[in-house]
Amino acid sequence: MIPWFTSSIASFHFLNPFMLLALAGLPLLVLAYMRREQSRRHLVSSILVLKQLSKKATPRKRFFPPLRFFLELLALLALVFGASGPLHTDSGEKIAVLFDTSLSMQAQSTEARGRTRFDAAVEKFSQWLTKQKSGNTYFLFTAAPRLLQVGDTGKLRAVNSEQETQGMSSSAILALVKAIEPTLAADSLEGAANELLGSGRYEKLVIVSDKQVDVQGGIQLVETLIVGAPVPNVALQSLRIERRDLAKDSQKIVASVATTGGAAGRCEVDLSFIDLGGTASRMQTQPIQLPTNGLLDVSFQIAESQAQGFYQVLLRPKDGDALAEDNIGTVSVQEAQTASILMVEPNPNLGDLGLSSLPGFSVRQLTPEAFAALSDDELMKSQVVVFHGTAPRRLFSRPALIVVPPNDNPLFPGKAEVSSPRISSWLIDHPLLSYLKVPLLNPAASVVFRENAYGKAIIRAESGPIALAGEANGARFVVLGFEIFPFEGLKTPIPTVLTLNILSWLRGGAQLGEERRTGGSLDLRQSKQTLTKIVGTGKAIQRDIDPRGVIELAYSGGYVLQDEQSSHLELLAVNAFHTEESDTGDIQSIVLSSAGKEREGNQNLGFPLWRYAALVALVCILLETVLALRGREQEAA
């Protein structure tokens, strides 16, 4: 009986509990009725005969208010109760726990040697749980790389705003927290916290993180368990291949090393090569002196041709380093290889149009007829296909440059050929036009294209677009109505810059050959490629992955994409290059939204009872009014 009673009391919350103080006014109601009773004393000539009436008609004098008094009392109680904003909740609170599992949580903890911030966070959360009500229901979420709910079996699932999820007890959530693994991804704590607050499903949000929570507008729903303190860290921030080009005469790998939190001192940087079999061989080691809270580029010269595989750079600081997971970077060799250009030219006498002089590129010439007979396997061997004076009938999954296509080509039909087209506008920020003074292009003639559904007009003349660019089937394309060939290098700098921009942009697009961050995703639903295996990471993980669908790149290292219809392989490097996560010297703050979100959240704190209280009050007032009117009628009669 008593536990039920106390738990029932505990199940009530009041949004405006101070309104309950109005109950102190109840004695005033009693006094008012007593005064009314006083005013209902009547002087009569004699009570002689009245005294002879039965006891029923002459009850003993006591404060016996009429029914109206009790109706008014009940109405007052209901109004006070309703105004106090009562909410009935299931026993205990619904608490969302947002646990930071991002890369920075793996930094060494200052609170205990040999333990990470994540370990400290688990312990701190465990201590926090012991102080909470036993009836609470917990919901566990992580936000690296995005908001996901941790189910009771440990499986992660997306947060569905329409689907009610089951909570768990304190012991269950603690067991789950101890079992979840930190990730190498960056977190989205701010967005995740705001989403959870905005859902209105939870009475409290607990954030366990190494980041401060900056609450605006006085939100009372958030509690943060902060772990960790600023510690020095050395991190590999980026890794890139700089190819031999007109400015450089050698190919090299450049690693950018950042220090935060006062990290400094000596460090050795290793360059290794990992083949597709996962075998790593160290190639070079460079000792460096780390700047304090600065950035340093370390370069390694590499051969232009190399077997397929990955280059891996590893930092080995001699002094303090909070995170080891951000000391490794991977880059695919495919990016370092000489690019193969397939040139389709109806006039074989024109040769390779000077493209063979492009450093880092090899050129293969074909007539349109020979191109049409080319197998897909052969086609996939080329990184770029150049159509000169011709155009394909359809776009395919290879980057393509189409120069001066025939007017009647089906993909990019021209509406006119103009001489000396006056360039009227261009897309200033497009990568194709980087470092290019477009008005100096000054083509002698150009095909003017019709407005095209495929591609965006990059350069326009007065009579229409003369340069288009876009993406189709996962590959980029560029269509020029004017001639940029033959490639003559520094002799014709304007077309040369445009050509180099085009080739660079074509090869850097879509989902191929691009560096990825851990926590990102790879959408293979429209692709004919499958992800086969991971090779060589700092954690030496090698396993098969679900080959279909949207794949989360949760691990750093090298990925191999196999085309289903050919033996062509694409190499993809995934790195934990998260600037904010690696900056363990500065516990950054996350900012939650204003009290507007809080108000939305409060709506679901429990089952609102004010409506019922208002209904009771209304019924009582109506009844009391009816009784009062009847009483007046009787008195008047």
Partner: protein, 291 residues
């Protein structure tokens, strides 16, 4: 309120006489037969002639029969001493606006005028307040009226005690009218009336009750406070209790009526909303209070 004592009303009152069952023992000549022998018109008895008797009173028929000289004796006619006692307690002022006291006062004045017009003497006594002097003659009426119109009902008292005080100066038996609401315990009523009977007064009782007292027009619930005693009573009335009240009130009035009938006192119950002229000119003669 219009003064009921109009010239026409006075003329009609002059046709009435105080009716009494007893012989008058007034101190003046009047129109009421006295027990004493005197110079009245009513033959009383014979007695032998004595020297000095009036020859006109010799009954010659008796002499012819008996050869003895006898003189006739006649009863004296004296005036009536009339005392009109009317209740001036606080209960006569309630229910408010129902004019119990006003009717009692006006009835007293009307009775007093009848008596004064007939040569009787009248003393008005507003119980709980004052006694007027003894009035004689019609010309005394305005003085009496002025005296009584200044009185407001208030206070509470024992009816017997006040009556005793009121009649203390009355040596001779009087014709007494007692006007009240008699909302007092029956034993007190009886005490008061027994006192008057003991003084050999010819008593008539007029009981005035207000219409709202008859019908119990009170709030269904509340605290009733007795205006005289201050005693409080909580009531919670319904239809049943209203019927019960009617029975109890009827029994209360009936008790007085039975007692008056048993001891030979005329008893008349009036409602305070009845008109003065109807009561005095019709009900009083019919009930034997006037003739």
């Amino acid at each position: 309120m219009q003064d009921p004592f109009t010239p026409a009303f006075f003329r009609r009152l002059e046709r009435l006489r105080i009716r009494t069952k007893r012989s008058a023992l007034g101190t003046r000549e009047g129109t009421h037969l006295s027990l004493r022998r005197g110079q009245g018109l009513e033959f009383s008895d014979y007695r032998p002639y004595s020297a000095g008797d009036d020859f006109r009173h010799i009954d010659w028929s008796v002499y012819g029969r008996t050869d003895r000289v006898y003189v006739k004796q006649f009863r004296a006619e004296h005036n009536l001493e009339v005392m009109i006692l009317f209740d001036g307690s606080a209960s006569m002022g309630l229910p408010s606006g129902e004019r119990k006291f006003e009717l009692a006062r006006d009835l007293s004045l009307a009775l007093g005028y009848v008596a004064l017009a007939d040569g009787d003497s009248v003393i008005f006594s507003c119980l709980g307040h004052k006694n007027t002097p003894k009035y004689y003659g019609q010309s005394a009426f305005p003085r009496a009226q002025r005296e009584l119109l200044t009185i407001e009902p208030k206070g509470s008292f024992s009816l017997r005690t006040e009556i005793r005080a009121a009649v203390a100066g009355q040596k001779l038996p009087a014709r007494c009218y007692l006007i009240s609401d008699f909302l007092i315990p029956p034993e007190e009523q009886q005490e008061a009336l027994d006192f008057l009977r003991g003084k050999n007064f010819d008593v008539s009782v007029v009981q005035i009750i207000a219409p709202s007292e008859l019908r119990l027009e009170l709030p269904n619930s509340g605290t009733m406070v007795d205006v005289e005693s201050g005693e409080e009573l909580q009531i919670a009335l319904d239809a049943t209790s209203l019927r019960e009240y009617a029975q109890k009130l009827g029994a209360h009035v009936e008790y007085l009526e039975r007692y008056c009938r048993r001891v030979g006192i005329q008893h008349l119950v009036l409602s305070s909303d009845e008109s003065l002229s109807d009561v005095v000119l019709q009900k009083f003669p019919k009930a034997g209070l006037l003739q």
